[in-house]
Chain length 337, copies 2
């Protein structure tokens, strides 16, 4: 394929969003491709990833990465095929997963790659979700910070989501009782029927605390939290002495500007001797490939299932991000450009 | 001394305080002593301890221990001498530190003892402070949760206090840059001149954040927090990526009923990949005596100094507790009954 002659369709960030990015913060364009330099390779994106973390990448202000510059391609992960190469270790025909952006083609170098996929054993889309940062986050944060032991009770927020569904299954595989939180009846059913949670609870219904106490009368050992906010405040007060809280996301808090307030939690932390740790998956790149292989083996032997919500057409990426924050998705959202 | 014939003066808790116990929540009485049973020993208290943790022990509601029953002797630590014994391992003449209460004499058994002091090498009062829960807390929480490495920057609240002053010295001994927070000019001077802090900052003065940034331009690696509240909220935002926060107390928050609010901190935790741990010293009783000996060796070789504020007369104990919360003390407050 004469890639350089191809047109490259791109989604640019054109307004600095406060809070959740809206479709009006993005623009669509189409450009040509410039020739590769030595050490670069051209990737044709097969699946673009849509991730809650993109809010933070797009927002102004302190974050774990610099904000996406206005007017540039929206920062995004994707999985793609190398279609042209001037790097000997990245040959044409191999696949890579990494910082490829919301666009058809990416001119990449090794620094953009998170995992290399020489010979995919699973559908390519899996490498952008359950074998990408979602599954990697679930595995590394659960075992690194949550440290579940057999017999523990593990609570997961956004329990049917791309991260949460993996956390629940990994915790069950570790011999834990698992409780999933969601607000959507269909997702609650999936928690129970598909992801093997022992209990699935609607956090929007009255009596959340009582419901947790009923299924976890001795309290929660590990809380894997993707949402923050009031759900977090309530669940901290259900933790067992010595419990661990994994702070993996804050998706329920619509904006951090101005700084929102909530219950003071330091006394809960003290009385319950909690360990509360913040997790960013990109700190752990050195173990991505081995963790990807461990997750892949679980998928191949049937002990780990996953769902995908693949949408057609690059133009729908901005709305897909809004949908993720609104919970209007069924599994990992990917864009087939 | 025919102890059984002695009168026992006691401070009883008679009202359930909300927040900081006031003198009106206590009553003074005097009783006789009943004979010892097998396995018991009689301790004449030499120094009664006054601790911020007594607020929690006196308050109603969830805590790490059951509240002190109304009408009973106020729960307190003390160091005393065994003056009569019906336990072979606790002979007359030995000293013990433990749950002896705000009273002249305690009928004790091994479960009341935290450390045994067969042959004191330091003044007896030290065993109720720098070698008691204050020094033990400093040592075990700093090394257990804070994990300071040489070159780290360690920030301490109530930096001149009975716990904080030891934390600062231990962190300095570990090769760290140390920053102490206090609001009292005399205590700030002590931080610098006596406890060896590299920097001492008045947290009540405007520009606290800027002052921290000046002395710790790369951020804080370890925050040892005894106070919670707004000071905690501000300092979390000065932490370096990968930092550790030790939650050892919440002394700045006057009451937890009704639940107070403050800034949401989960995003700080996440972005900075903090580890925030709650610490209660009584979880670590198995290592009290070895830690006490380690601290004692530092005092003997001059690398650890401490201050005491010894007050005369058991009747002043309730006011002394109020004074501790108001910062009206110079070092560890003890009562010589």
């Amino acid at each position: 394929m004469p890639a350089q002659s191809s047109r490259n369709r791109r989604i640019l960030l054109v307004n600095r969003p406060v809070g959740i990015p809206q479709p009006s913060d993005f623009a669509f364009d189409e450009t040509g491709l410039v020739p590769l330099e030595d050490g670069q390779f051209l990737v044709r994106n097969c699946f673009l990833s849509v991730d809650p973390a993109q809010r933070g990448w797009a927002n102004e202000g302190a974050n774990y990465s610099n904000p996406v510059p206005l007017g540039s391609v929206m920062r995004a992960l994707a999985v793609g095929e190398i279609v042209e190469s001037r790097h000997a270790e990245y040959p044409v025909g191999h696949h890579v997963y990494g910082w490829l952006g919301w666009q058809d083609y990416a001119i990449a170098s090794p620094k953009h790659v998170l995992t290399r996929i020489a010979a995919p054993r699973l559908p390519l889309s899996a490498y952008a979700g359950v074998l990408g940062i979602n599954g990697l986050t679930a595995h590394l944060a659960l075992h690194g910070i949550g440290r579940p032991k057999a017999g523990d009770t593990v609570l997961v927020s956004t329990a049917a989501g791309a991260v949460g569904s993996v956390v629940g299954q990994l915790a069950r595989a570790a011999g834990c009782t698992t409780i999933g939180l969601s607000s959507d009846p269909a997702k609650l059913a999936m928690c129970r029927d598909r992801f093997g949670y022992d209990h699935a609870i609607n956090y929007r219904e009255p009596g959340l605390e009582e419901a947790i106490s009923r299924v976890a009368p001795d309290g929660i050992d590990v809380f894997f939290d993707n949402v923050g906010g009031e759900q977090l405040d309530k669940m901290l007060r259900k933790m067992r002495v010595g419990g661990r809280v994994v702070q993996c996301g804050t998706a329920s808090v619509p904006s951090w500007t101005p700084p929102p307030t909530g219950l003071r939690n330091e006394r809960e932390l003290l009385m319950r001797r909690l360990t509360w740790g913040g997790f960013v998956v990109f700190d752990h790149m050195a173990v991505f490939e081995e963790t990807m292989h461990a997750l892949g083996a679980m998928i191949e032997d049937g002990s780990l299932v996953y769902d995908e919500d693949v949408r057609e057409g690059i133009a729908c990426a901005p709305q897909a991000l809004v949908d993720v924050f609104a919970g209007r998705n069924r599994g990992k959202v990917l864009i087939s450009p």
